[in-house]
Symmetry: C2
Subunit: 228 residues, 2 copies
Amino acid sequence: MKRAVVLLSGGLDSTTTLAIAIEQGYEAYPLSFDYGQRHQIEIDAARRIAKSLGAKEHRVAKIDMRIFGGSALTDDVDVPKKRSETEIAHGIPVTYVPARNTIFLAYALAWAEVIPAAHIFLGVNAIDYSGYPDCRPEFIEAFETLANLGTKAGVEGTRFRVHAPLIRFPKSEIIRKAVELNVDLSLTHSCYDPSPEGLACGGCDSCLLRLKGFRETGIEDPIRYARK
Amino acid sequence: MKRAVVLLSGGLDSTTTLAIAIEQGYEAYPLSFDYGQRHQIEIDAARRIAKSLGAKEHRVAKIDMRIFGGSALTDDVDVPKKRSETEIAHGIPVTYVPARNTIFLAYALAWAEVIPAAHIFLGVNAIDYSGYPDCRPEFIEAFETLANLGTKAGVEGTRFRVHAPLIRFPKSEIIRKAVELNVDLSLTHSCYDPSPEGLACGGCDSCLLRLKGFRETGIEDPIRYARK
């Protein structure tokens, strides 16, 4: 059976990516990160999702990215709220974390080599692709090259592949795909700034994009919001 | 002033690399990892070295690589002792840690982007180069490509460069270079399996290569060994 490490944050995109990997016949090894982010809730969501989708083994790597600062997701700065679609769509987001996907993929590669697995799934979508440098196809290809050169497995003939099945998908298509694959969307979590009880804020970029995606599909978002 | 992140383990090679970066006029930001390795002593050594060489700012990133297993440096398996030179030189060492340099460089890149710095120094040497896939020039070039594609700074025009000034150096030349640069070699630490008091074991691959390097130079190794 083909094995794949799947980067799993517990959001809509990575959850749907995990469901796609399993649908495509991969034995899935989801990998989540506890990287000092504000929303520990993400990790709990990831655990429940991995279980509900029948993943083989879920691991959480505790990593310390706060020492680098440089992002609204890791610093003690305010997450921007109620930005317009134009503001969200243009330029590199304030929630950009330096080299995040490079670090995440490096860990995925390390675990893949141990399992051993030759495949890594990454849930980047069309909006990430337009805003984050480390979500572009040329970045992903450069990582594959690095993986094949920089590992014992690569030297011994494994050809690592990084799959990003949602890279051209807008949020609405991701939601449709998730529903088609019977993903329990009530388990997913997207908010950058949830309330202490775990309610989504409804105003950060991630909530706004999620809500817009659901509106476009006509499907109701099953998670609870502090306000919409 | 040019700034550089320097990966610093506290061993001979990374210490000499730091001294070279400073000699070349870089303002140096050494980065060490607390990755659940057995030898915490390495980190203390790195702190003293960064201070003694006049680095600008030293950081230690706590990362959890033990969850991946797969190596004598992170698992509870025995470090091999008293291997012959031929055994040490051939094939990929048992101390290979999956994707380690990929992970280390990814962190270095993240910090470089925050500082901001365009240069990363890595202390791989000729022996690493012959044995570890992630110490080869083609791996280092692939990482530069990845760095330029996968960061905000890269997209905005920074050209990241990874320097490996020792990549063709045998241990003896590294020792000579360190002495030439007035590096206090008594602060460095190479052993994979030190005693509880911090004495080098004298028998692991790293001790054997270090001792051989010193023998070849006629310089006395200033660190203490449990046995030689």
